[in-house]
Structures are given as structure tokens and as C-alpha cells.
Amino acid sequence: MMQFTCPHCGPRDQAEFIYERTVDAVVSLDAAPEEAMKSLFTRNNPRGVDEEIWRHTYGCRAWMVIARNRVTNEISATRAVGPEALP
């Protein structure tokens, strides 16, 4: 099992987290229909690193962005998102 480092709780088993989608799949509220369609229905889906949105569902319930290699499962960066991540 992978281990993620939650920006709020520290290292935790992956079982506590739920995968949501990738950063490029977030639909901005003012997106044109074609852009919204692309964000909803297409993915870069790289055989390498992508930025993924995960939620610490069975912990602090906060969202975070995790840059993970999808072949080796190596995690290169984790950052908090949402109002709590603002300065």
C-alpha cells in the first residue's frame, strides 16, 4: 500500500484517502462549453507523473494535490488546496 503525507496529519496509509480526479480535469466556472467538455471527459493520463487530487476522507477530510508517478508510485510533491492553503 502507498503512504501519503497529508499536509495536515502527516504520513498516513493510502487506505484513508480517496482519489478524485486530476488537476487538469477541474472545470472552471467560466469555461466555454468546449473547454468544459474537455475537462470533464478527457485526461492526459500520462504513463509518468500527473498531478492528482486526493481527499483524506477517513482523516481530516481535506483535499490535496499529489504529484505521483503512475508507473513507480513515487510521490514527488504534495500540497494542500482550498482556503486553508491560502497565505
Binding site: 500500500m1 502507498m2 493510502q14 487506505a15 482519489y19 480526479r21 486530476t22 468546449e34 467538455m37 474537455k38 470533464l40 471527459f41 478527457t42 485526461r43 492526459n44 493520463n45 500520462p46 504513463r47 500527473d50 492528482e52 503512475r70 508507473v71 513507480t72 508510485n73
Partner: protein, 418 residues
């Protein structure tokens, strides 16, 4: 190519079985093919076979980065069925099931198709209503389906825990008696042997690393064994669809996830049919060697690792043991995982792409094996004529932007939010 037969086997018995020949050649790639298929799995090999057999094309190559049948063709739970709810899926998978019924004869290769019955379990009144609805939909399209009472389920599978205190009580089931299992490797090998004998070049250890473009058209591929020109190129690489299409600048409605399966030591026959629970997402069958094959949910996050998370295996096995407690004493001998290309409506994509001369067959999620013959048949038609066959026309790549998704599970744009 010599025909396999019982007589040949007997004759071989007299001369020490020295007559066996390789079932397919190992050719060097030529500089040009009319059609190149990327991916030597069951689907790609079936496509090549039907291109040669049905459409009479001769100059065809299948390029495989590893060895044929080494991807998802060799990593599934070998279940064959056509018990879906929506018409486009009925048409495609039932066409495939009818092909399965004659596939061994067609290929002169025993694919060990075993129509032992594919049974969905119902665990509640609501489950039974859904199964009845599914059965009705199937029968309206001429596909066999029988709703089963609790007693009928128990009679077919006496080892199921039918007690009222069971973790997952069983209220009944829905069976497609013509469904069953097949020998996965034999499907790849049978199609490979058939295609090779019709002149198709099957080129293994040849990975496509890029596309050769002329304006807006693809005119060839760059590979680890050099450049190969092509009239038309068909992508048929399952979990790696997104990666290969990305080489041509395409972004697909697909996310690659891991799907795991596992098998126990061999035991005497104890599971008679294919037992499936869609409420739990658990699949149990017994291979012809006697091993109990388990399948479950995908890992539900993107991965190309071809290895899965024990947490997901544990869930699948826990469900299986709750359904059939007698399995608890068996030792698990092998687990494996495949990279599945999860499409955003759960249905496959077969057809043209925005790039001229480039075609796509992918997005099979966790349900590609059963469709192998139908996938090959329709993709061959599409590659030969440049236009989709009536059976795969609904599965066009642009159906998402047109709002014409084939949404069997109603899961919307997130395959992991079932």
C-alpha cells in the same frame, strides 16, 4: 499451415510428436504495410485475422511491444457473456457471444469456450427488481436470460451460503446460460496462428515510439525497430491507449486503472457456473485446471504499474468467502493485475480519430476479453473501409461531445464513482 486434428495427434503419437511446427512466424518488419495494428493482444490479433480473412487484405502487420497476449488478454478472469442492459451493448456483445460459440472451429484451435452459465446474484428485493429489468431488456433483444428463485440458485451452486444470517443474503439470481468462460491465452494464440497463416506479419518486441505525419494524416509509425510506413494505423493497446494516442497528440476520454484478479490452488469441481455479484462487484469461477478464479473492483485510482494494492484483493476475497465459505481453506497461488483503460461512460471506443488514417479501439474498461471476436470483426471492418460497422457506429470517439454516451451503469463522467 497444417490443420490440427485428432488424426494428426494420433499420427504424432507414432513418431514421438516430432511433427509440431511453430504456430506463427517471427518475421522482420517490412518498410511498408497497408494496415498496421498497434498491439498484439486478442483484439489486435483478431482484427488482423478478420482483415485478412473477411476483407481479403494481405499486407498487414501487428506490432507488439512485448509478447503477444502478454497484456490484458493474459490478465483477465476469462468470463464471456452478453448480459447487458443497453441496446448498443447487446448488439455488440451478443454478436461476439455467437462468434465464441463457433470460435474453436473457425480457428482450428481449441479456445476451450465453456458455456457453463453466467449468473448474477441478487441480495435484496431491490437487486431482484434490477435483475428482472436487465433480464427483460436482454430478452427483448433476443438474448437468453432467466430469472432464478433462491431454490434454483441453491440447486446450481450448493456451496453458496444461503442461510438467512449470511453476510450477503441471497434472494435469487439472473442467469445467462450461454455465458461462461474460455481459455484466454488460446484466444490470442489461435488468432495469431490464423492471421499468420493468412500472411499477416506478427512482429513482437517492437514498441511504437511515435507517429510519422504528413500534414494532418498519419503515414507511418516510428518503432524500436525502425520506421514503418502505413496506409492506415489502428491503435489497439487497451490500458496504454492514452499513452499511444498521446504520441499522436490526442487526449482521450480514458483513465488507466489497475484491475486485479487471483487464483487458488486447483481443487475438484466445486463451482459450476460463473458466480457474479454486481452489488458487491465480485466474480468467482473455477478454471478447467481446478483453480478458483477471483475478480473484484478496479483499484479506483490511475496506475500503469501492472501491480495492485493488497487492500483491493482482500476486499474481493472477503466478498468471495462470504458468498462461498468453503473457499476459506484454499491457498491463493497467484495474483496479477492489468492496466485497464476506463472510459468515461464505461463503454468501449471503436472508430475513427480526428487524425486522418489513425483509428482507435480502446476504452474497454474491465470488460474487453468477452468482446474479443466482436471487437476484431468490427475494427477490421472499420480499418478496411475507413467507416464504422453498424455494430460499432454507436461507440464513436466523439460520442462524449455529442452527449451520446452509452452509460450502462449511469456512472457519469467519473468511472470511479459507481
Amino acid at each position: 499451415m497444417s490443420q490440427y486434428s485428432a488424426f494428426g495427434l494420433l499420427r504424432g503419437a507414432l513418431n514421438g510428436q516430432k511433427h509440431w511446427q511453430p504456430a506463427w512466424r517471427d518475421p522482420e518488419p517490412k518498410s511498408h504495410y497497408d494496415i498496421i495494428i498497434i498491439g498484439g493482444g486478442g483484439h489486435g490479433l483478431a482484427t488482423a485475422y478478420y482483415l485478412a480473412k473477411v476483407h481479403g487484405l494481405k499486407n498487414i502487420a501487428v506490432l507488439e511491444k512485448g509478447w503477444i497476449g502478454g497484456g490484458n488478454t493474459g490478465r483477465n478472469t476469462t468470463i464471456v457473456r452478453s448480459n447487458y442492459r443497453l441496446k448498443p451493448l447487446h448488439d455488440l456483445f451478443e454478436f461476439g457471444l455467437k462468434m465464441w460459440e463457433h470460435l474453436s472451429d473457425e480457428l482450428n484451435y481449441n479456445v476451450m469456450f465453456s458455456p457453463r452459465g453466467a449468473m448474477f446474484l441478487g441480495h435484496s428485493d431491490a437487486d431482484m427488481t434490477k435483475l428482472a429489468e436487465r433480464g427483460d431488456a436482454m430478452r427483448c433483444d433476443g438474448i437468453d436470460a432467466d430469472l432464478m428463485t433462491r431454490d434454483e440458485v441453491q440447486k446450481l451452486e450448493p456451496l453458496l451460503d444461503m442461510s438467512r444470517s449470511a453476510r450477503f443474503p441471497i434472494e435469487g439470481g439472473l442467469i445467462q446460460r450461454r455465458g461462461g468462460t474460455a481459455r484466454h491465452d488460446a484466444v490470442a494464440w489461435g488468432y495469431a496462428r490464423g492471421a499468420d497463416s493468412l500472411g499477416v506479419d506478427i512482429i513482437q518486441k517492437c514498441e511504437v515510439t511515435g507517429f510519422v505525419r504528413d500534414g494532418d494524416a498519419v503515414v507511418g509509425v516510428e518503432t524500436t525497430r525502425g520506421r514503418i510506413n502505413a496506409g492506415r494505423v489502428g491503435i489497439c493497446v487497451a490500458g496504454h491507449s492514452g499513452h499511444v494516442a498521446g504520441l499522436a497528440g490526442l487526449k482521450l476520454p480514458v483513465e488507466s486503472q489497475t484491475l486485479q484478479a487471483m487464483v487458488t490452488e486447483g481443487v475438484k469441481p466445486m463451482i459450476n457456473s460463473v458466480i457474479m455479484s454486481q452489488s458487491l462487484h465480485c466474480y468467482i469461477s473455477q478454471s478447467d485446471k481446478g483453480g478458483i478464479v477471483f475478480g473484484g473492483d478496479p483499484d479506483n485510482w490511475p496506475s500503469y504499474a501492472q501491480r495492485g494494492n493488497p487492500m483491493v484483493m482482500e476486499r474481493a476475497v472477503a466478498q468471495g468467502l462470504a458468498l462461498v465459505p468453503a473457499l476459506s481453506r484454499l491457498r491463493m497461488v497467484r495474483t496479477w493485475s492489468g492496466v485497464t483503460d476506463m472510459s468515461f461512460d464505461g463503454a468501449p471506443i471503436i472508430g475513427e480519430t480526428p487524425v486522418k488514417n489513425l483509428f482507435l479501439n480502446g476504452g474497454w474498461c474491465y470488460g474487453g476479453f468477452k468482446a474479443t471476436p466482436a471487437s476484431g470483426w468490427t475494427y477490421a471492418h472499420t480499418l478496411a473501409t475507413g467507416k464504422p460497422h453498424a455494430l460499432n457506429a454507436p461507440f464513436a470517439l466523439d460520442r462524449f461531445e455529442r452527449g451520446a454516451t452509452i452509460d450502462e451503469t449511469g456512472s457519469g463522467p467519473m468511472p470511479n464513482s459507481r
